[in-house]
């Protein structure tokens, strides 16, 4: 089997598996919507206040939703042994791991983009910043999956990996949060956001190239 065929086979397999267990798609999405609904309840429904902090709320919630969904990335494959088979295959682990991360993002990251406009309306965000919000989510959530994969790969062998995972992953999410949140805020004020978007693209490219390496190394360590 050629490398590209193996790559797409892994993506297809993970997508089929996810479609058969739809709760995995729905859970992070519901969480995302619920957290954002809680904010107006917690701080009061003043439109100005909500509008001012909307980019931050949406991005922090996206961060948390991405983190919560991470566990499903390698868990079931680790439990039933198919992860071990994948590491034993002649193809480079980094490529197969990248395929798994992409499939995971398609299942858990992409749906956030679909509900984000609705939530933007909830929080009264100005219409002209909606495009920037979607663009930052499109560029930022794959980075969250890629960086998060490192944390999951390190903790997948542990019985209680949940708490430690947030400690490992959230500090590394900071740059994405800063640039994405700021871009949406600036777009709301009608300012140019090229710089932030360019930096997000740079971070995404760097994560795409670099993240699979520690993920592969950490998986080999966890399996051993």
């Amino acid at each position: 089997m050629s490398l590209s065929r193996a790559f797409f086979a892994v993506i297809r397999r993970d997508l089929v598996l996810a479609l058969r267990r739809r709760s995995e798609i729905a859970n992070p999405l519901l969480f995302f919507i619920l957290v954002i609904t809680l904010f107006p309840l917690g701080i009061g429904a003043q439109p100005h206040l909500l509008q001012a902090i909307a980019p931050g709320i949406i991005w922090v919630s996206a961060l948390l939703a991405a983190m919560l969904s991470l566990d499903s990335l390698f868990r079931s494959d680790f439990d039933d042994g198919s992860l071990e088979q994948m590491l034993l295959s002649p193809h480079p682990t980094t490529v197969l791991v990248l395929a798994k991360i992409i499939a995971h993002w398609l299942v858990t990251g992409l749906p956030l983009l679909i509900v984000a406009p609705l939530l933007a309306v909830f929080l009264g965000m100005p219409n002209h910043s909606l495009g920037t919000l979607l663009l930052t989510l499109l560029l930022g959530t794959p980075v969250l999956s890629l960086i998060g994969a490192v944390g999951v790969a390190l903790t997948v062998g542990l019985r209680r990996g949940g708490m430690i995972l947030s400690l490992l992953v959230l500090p590394l999410y900071v740059p994405v949060l800063i640039f994405a949140g700021n871009a949406v805020q600036m777009a709301g004020s009608g300012l140019p956001v090229d710089a932030q978007i360019n930096i997000l693209i740079a971070i995404l490219l760097m994560a795409l190239v670099l993240a699979p390496l520690p993920v592969a190394a950490a998986l080999k360590m966890s399996i051993h």
């Binding site: 903790t155 062998g157 500090p171 800063i178 700021n182 190394a217």
Partner: protein
């Protein structure tokens, strides 16, 4: 490897052997402590007594003799940890792994000290315990990174596996630290104008600078002492079934 002189290579090869490392650091320790005490005494005397008071901040600036070296150490130790971790990961040298994990709690302590002293200094200077200043914020995130390393090591039962996990995490962190640092700096300059934090930094006078550098050296020695002490304990713990440890214990009885 041809660039490194032969005795140096031999030295490192011998240091990779646990009994040799244990004996050598045991002999080295008193000297390190003596140097540390001397440098600290001179540095503190210079900083707290000889150096003049600042014309703006009075005596409260003197906290920099603890604060600044701690902040330097917090980054320095993380880099040491990542380098030692990488050495352990690549050449499977047990001692490098031990040095890496022994560094983590010390680095976290220095980061914590830098945060606390910064906050203590900030109260009279900025009028508040905490501002979301770029440096304070990235120091706080560095503390979280350290805690992640310590937590991960504690969570994995097999200590060799844990060491490899820590090494991978430290390497990922070391790539991310500059990105986090600059993004936080950039975030801060956009969110909050240069009102409080950007006091004009006067170039520091020599009488203040020399004690500061001495304190930085003293902190390096403290780190070396504390790290070696932790490493020696960890080494005994991991090698408790090895013959050389048994010999040593039976001899000392």
């Amino acid at each position: 490897m041809f660039l490194i002189p032969d005795p140096v290579v031999r030295f490192f090869h011998r240091m990779a052997s646990p009994p040799h490392f244990y004996a050598f650091t045991g002999r080295l320790m008193p000297w390190l402590v003596v140097v540390f005490l001397l440098v600290t005494a001179v540095g503190l005397y210079g900083g707290l007594y000889l150096a003049p008071a600042d014309y703006q901040q009075g005596d409260s600036y003197r906290i920099i003799y603890i604060h600044v070296p701690s902040a330097w150490m917090s980054l320095f130790i993380y880099v040491v940890m990542a380098v030692a971790g990488a050495i352990g990961l690549i050449w499977r040298i047990k001692l490098a792994e031990i040095v890496a994990i022994s560094s983590a709690p010390i680095g976290a302590s220095f980061t914590f000290i830098a945060l606390v002293t910064g906050s203590l200094w900030g109260k009279p200077m900025w009028g508040t315990w905490w501002v979301w200043d770029a440096r304070l914020t990235s120091e706080l995130i560095l503390l979280f990174l350290y805690l992640g390393v310590i937590g991960l090591y504690g969570a994995i039962d097999d200590k060799r596996t844990a060491s490899r996990a820590v090494a991978i995490l430290a390497l990922v962190g070391v790539v991310n630290i500059p990105i986090i640092h600059y993004s936080v700096e950039w975030w801060n300059t956009l969110h909050q104008g240069p009102t409080v934090t950007k006091m004009d930094k006067p170039s520091i006078h020599v009488s203040m600078l020399i004690p500061l550098l001495l304190m930085a050296v003293s902190f390096k020695f403290y780190y070396l002492i504390a790290m070696l002490q932790r490493a020696r304990t960890e080494l005994l713990l991991r090698e408790r079934n090895a013959q050389w440890v048994k010999n040593m214990v039976s001899e000392s009885k």
